[in-house]
């Protein structure tokens, strides 16, 4: 089969690989019909995630058709169209039993701090991902769901990560009626977090980024006020001014490890790998939140330390909430919101790229060229 393969930092290519095989009785093999590149893939692509091996196939946001099922699979059969949460999880460990699907303890031998994620380095379990013609889906009775007939395939694709994560991020912000919510980052996750914040009762939603084309999307798609931080002397002061010097009730970090805005922080983490991730957005969140406020961190950081301004977070009495998104937990309510037209995920898709051109897709998305917000990868099979 054809599959995207990592060849070292900033380098990927498409290779002929063996089709994945059933390794466990509850496995399924899924033929991928659509995959996406996620902001998280950039951490791998830039070589920031420890134990990212040359030869691995990335891709944790994908949908497809069941091709083959293991002997114990009860809920799926070949031919079913499925959406697959980006989490690999068992459904039965201590954490899964409590709904923490992204923190499963039975799927990742390489680390206890993080669960299993498709195509996301060995630190997240060493699973090949969905930017390929076929992918192995463990615990087929637990993770995947049959795509409802009425649901658009692009919407289904975004349900598997970006949409679920943005919506989850707004929930961890513990928004109450009348809150001012600041969202850092106008990528897919930030856009969905901003759109979701309204559903939870926000009175103001302010999105911050440095890419005007993405801020424009935040305005039109998520009805948000927008600020380009590159045009501000000091973004923290700007936020204070616009909130009557109170600060934001809730700040959502939808940026993560590659955060820009401070050369030294960015270069020491994204380029030199001396930090687990660039904490610029996280530090802005700490400074821009009001005392007693809440910060929701959706942005992903590596397992190494980062220079986070923890003292201010403590002094301000902030609540910090964060996790990888337990995707499937969000689905029933998200389906209602899509059906009611309150969330319209596919509107953020900007590019469709054949699998064979995935190297260009990565560069486009990483360097933020051509107005790229969300690239979708289409395998030819």
């Amino acid at each position: 089969m054809r599959a995207m393969v990592y060849r070292g930092p900033y380098k990927v290519r498409v290779e002929e690989k063996d089709k994945p095989r059933i390794e466990h009785p509850n496995d399924a093999i899924v033929r991928v019909t659509r995959a996406a590149i996620c902001g998280s893939d950039l951490h791998l692509y830039h070589g920031m995630m420890p134990d990212t091996r040359v030869g691995m196939t990335f891709g944790h946001e994908f949908i497809g058709v069941v091709d083959e099922v293991g002997s114990s699979v009860q809920n799926l059969k070949p031919g079913d169209r499925v959406m697959v949460p980006f989490n690999v999880y068992c459904g039965s460990c201590y954490f899964c039993a409590r709904g923490l699907y992204s923190n499963c303890h039975n799927v990742n031998p390489n680390a206890t701090a993080v669960g299993g994620i498709y195509g996301y380095s060995h630190t997240c379990g060493g699973y090949d991902g969905g930017q390929a013609e076929y992918v192995r889906v463990p615990f087929a009775d637990v993770g995947p769901s049959v795509i409802p007939d009425w649901l658009d395939e692009d919407d289904a694709l975004l349900m598997t990560d970006a949409l679920a994560t943005g919506y989850f991020g707004a929930q961890l912000g513990e928004i109450t009626e009348g809150d001012t919510v600041v969202v850092l980052g106008a990528g897919p996750v930030g856009l969905f977090a901003a759109a979701s914040s309204w559903l939870m009762g926000a009175a103001r939603v302010i999105v911050i980024d440095h890419l005007d084309y993405r801020l424009e999307k935040a305005r039109t798609f998520a009805h948000a006020e927008v600020i380009n931080f590159a045009e501000q002397d000091d973004i923290v002061v700007t936020v204070k001014k616009t909130t009557d010097y109170l600060g934001a009730d809730v700040v959502i970090d939808a940026v993560g490890a590659e955060a820009d805005g401070n050369f030294l922080q960015h270069v020491t983490s994204a380029k030199l790998k001396l930090q687990g991730g660039s904490p610029i957005a996280l530090n802005w969140a700490i400074d821009a939140a009001r005392k007693g406020g809440t910060i929701s961190v959706m942005g992903a950081y590596g397992p190494m330390f980062s220079a986070v301004k923890f003292g201010d977070a403590m002094n301000k009495g902030l609540t910090l909430r964060m996790n990888q998104c337990p995707v499937k937990r969000q689905w029933p309510r998200l389906l209602e919101h899509i059906r009611d037209g309150y969330l319209r995920p596919r509107e953020i898709i900007t590019h469709r790229i054949p699998l064979e051109h995935i190297a260009e897709g990565y560069h486009l998305f990483s360097a933020k060229l051509d107005g790229c917000i969300k690239p979708v990868i289409v395998p030819s099979a």
Partner: protein
């Protein structure tokens, strides 16, 4: 102003509902799927086992020493090999996730892996090609210049580093190869000259 007890005024729910489709539909935390954070519901996830069957371990699978056992299911991408494999296995065997040495060794092994793989690729029919693999073509098809010029982008102050970080080692390695070949050729020419002379 936070200097007095008053809440700053905000738009009314009616205004917001008129402007934003769906405003407030999840106002009640009970409508939010992630609330409460933990809810014991072992039957909801779809597992029909108390503990999953074990996947076959086809090669010794490295694992965190913070795990009591190998997890029943695991990924089978890229078994460790070469020098990077030795470093990786050492990092897993020796240091917990709490130790910087664990992650620094793994990051170091990643860099070794990349170079081992580049070298190995030169002995295959498909050697690594940093130009196609970095997707540089997108600079032309994706309006590289227009996407950057005259825009207030905060990432331009470091994007120029990328070609140096990615291309630099290739150019250096190329230089080393060229000088080694040249020196060998010169030596051979000199030897030929002395034999003739």
């Amino acid at each position: 102003m936070p200097y007095t007890p008053d809440q700053p005024p905000t738009a009314s729910p009616e205004e917001l509902r008129a402007r934003i489709p769906g405003w407030g539909v999840d106002l009640d935390p009970a409508d939010r799927p992630a609330v409460p954070k933990e809810r014991f519901a072992p039957d909801e996830a779809g597992a029909h086992w108390h503990f999953p069957e074990r996947q076959e371990e086809r090669w010794p699978r490295e694992r965190s020493i913070e795990h009591a056992q190998l997890t029943p299911v695991f990924g089978t991408s890229c078994p460790p090999k070469g020098l990077s494999g030795v470093i990786r296995k050492h990092a897993y065997r020796t240091y917990s996730e709490g130790r910087a040495a664990h992650w620094l060794l793994l990051l170091g092994a990643d860099r070794v892996d990349a170079w081992e793989s580049h070298l190995r690729s030169f002995f295959t029919t498909r050697p690594d090609n940093p130009i196609t693999q970095t997707g540089l073509r997108a600079e032309f098809t994706g309006h590289g210049l227009a996407s950057r010029l005259g825009r207030n982008r905060a990432d331009l102050n470091h994007q120029w580093l990328d070609p140096i970080i990615v291309g630099g080692p290739w150019i250096a390695a190329g230089g080393v190869v060229v000088s080694v070949v040249r020196r060998a050729r010169r030596r051979r020419a000199r030897r030929a000259a002395t034999v003739e002379g």
